[in-house]
């Protein structure tokens, strides 16, 4: 694809995605897209299927069906590490830093070769984006606070030079001040050219970072449109987000 003709096809297309936990049917056919350079908020209340959607896209669910195509490739049958190597970066809700490894080693685990068409990251660049991490590069992940761990998880995923980030509830459990920093970080990444799918319950946080919103409820997408439209649509907000 030459840079002169911008690729209008979405970067990520999810079609009729279904997933199960054991015998519990969680996703009943999710459809969503993320365009190049776009930040999409996946909204919904707890248990609606946000985390499961992210995991299913990433190949982390045992049983799933439906289509997931990323950058023009069908990834629906690939194992997680192959999906990650194509440029999909996943930042889980529960952080999952490697507590026994230092900050530097955590970043090393995420390192992948540079990828054309995606910003590339080095530890040095990440330390300028997250100055806190620079100060504690020799510290073990387990001895960091929750907010610091959240930053490290994000930085670690960026080391894989992804073109699309899946951010699962980045504001959950963080102090309001750290939440503000997180929103700034997401905007900075968008400016770098990254696409982001961010799951959120916090409407004001989503409004501050996202261009578009998809609202999920009981394993299906119930609303899809510009963020502004969601903010103006009282019925959808009350029905699916309970705000």
């Amino acid at each position: 694809m030459s840079p002169q003709t911008p690729n209008t096809e979405p970067l990520l297309t999810v079609q009729n995605l279904q997933a199960w936990y054991g015998r519990a049917h969680i996703l009943m056919g999710v459809d969503l897209t993320v365009g190049r350079g776009e930040v999409v908020a996946l909204m919904g209340r707890n248990g609606a299927g946000k985390t499961t959607t992210m995991k299913a896209v990433m190949g982390l669910m045992d049983t799933r069906s439906g289509g997931v195509s990323f950058d023009g490739r069908d990834v629906s049958a690939l194992p997680p590490h192959r999906i990650a190597r194509l440029g999909l970066g996943y930042v889980p809700e529960d952080r999952r830093v490697f507590t026994e490894l230092t900050v530097e080693e955590n970043l090393e685990v995420g390192r992948q070769p540079p990828r054309p068409g995606a910003p590339s990251w080095t530890p040095q660049r990440l330390y300028t984006l997250f100055p806190n991490l620079a100060e504690m590069r020799g510290r073990r992940g387990g001895r960091m606070s929750g907010g610091e761990q959240q930053m490290l998880t994000l930085a670690r995923t960026l080391m894989g030079n992804p073109s699309l980030l899946l951010l699962d509830e980045p504001s959950e459990g963080l102090a309001p001040r750290i939440v503000q920093q997180m929103a700034e970080a997401i905007r900075a990444l968008k400016a770098e050219g990254l696409s982001v799918l961010v799951s959120e319950q916090n409407l004001s946080f989503a409004a501050a970072v996202a261009d578009r919103a998809s609202v999920i409820e009981k394993g299906r997408i119930r609303f899809d449109g510009p963020m502004q439209a969601l903010l103006e649509d009282d019925t959808v907000r009350r029905q699916y987000l309970a705000v």
Binding site: L174, P176, A242
Partner: protein, 247 residues
């Protein structure tokens, strides 16, 4: 009258002082919120109160009885109930059996070898579940419940021992906004009905300012503010270290 009196609590981990001289009290009918940035020492504080951790110095008294050094089980029997940040129920049992388990424990019937457990304290458990709005789901296995419902079961389990004090660690974490307010409204109602006192930690400021009768703020192991919600919200130091400019 103060039920729980905490004086000059200290605890450090490998040279790092996690809690430095925290003192506060909790009276019957109060809903006291403990807030602060991540890493401020809230969880440590909680664990010092319920006996999970032993303080380096300081005292914790419940109705004049010193709790320091007692194992969590004893503290629970003296009347300090708790709910967990991450729900922990008995996943292989039904909702009612979970509550029955607590009744069996507080009436000291755990070692019975003959009488089937399903018949023990069945009505008491059912009544409690009705009160928290889980009566209709009493026969479902806890393993399949929605998150918000699990939190209600946890509340019922905490109430079954008829505690004087209830410690709630991030009681609404992971819930949708409307569910959060509903759960806290239920908690406030129970505080009035049963003459309870609640101490809770929380990050959702709507919940804190909507339901706490008093707030204490912790930063780097020390209390930096205490008072009614309005005063704490206006406090400049609290804004600087925790609330930020948006609040």
């Amino acid at each position: 009258m103060s039920r729980l009196v905490v004086e000059n609590l200290q605890r450090s981990f490998g040279g790092v002082k996690a809690v430095r001289g925290v003192s506060f009290s909790l009276a019957q009918g109060e809903v006291l919120a403990l807030i602060g940035p991540n890493g401020a020492g809230k969880t440590t504080c909680f664990n010092l109160l319920n006996g999970q951790l032993r303080p380096d110095s300081g005292t914790v008294r419940l109705d004049g009885v010193d709790l320091v050094g007692l194992p969590p089980r004893r503290i629970w029997r003296l009347g300090v109930g708790r709910t967990f940040q991450i729900t922990a129920t008995f996943a292989s049992m039904t909702v009612r059996e979970n509550v029955q388990m607590v009744f069996l424990s507080c009436r000291r019937r755990l070692f019975g070898l003959w009488q089937p457990a399903v018949g023990c304290f069945r009505d008491e458990a059912q009544n409690l579940l009705e009160r928290v709005g889980m009566g209709a789901q009493a026969d479902r296995p806890c393993g399949v419940l929605a998150y918000g419902d699990l939190k209600r079961v946890e509340l019922a389990m905490a109430l079954a021992s008829d505690p004087k004090i209830l410690l709630m660690d991030e009681p609404t974490a992971g819930m949708a906004p409307a569910e959060r307010l509903e759960l806290m409204a239920l908690t406030s109602a129970l505080v009035r009905e049963r003459g309870l006192a609640v101490l809770f930690t929380e990050h959702d400021m709507d919940v804190v300012f909507g339901h706490a009768t008093r707030i204490i703020v912790l930063d780097r192991g020390q209390l930096i503010a205490e008072g009614p919600p309005e005063a704490v919200r206006a406090d400049e130091r609290v804004q600087a270290v925790y609330l930020g400019t948006a609040a």
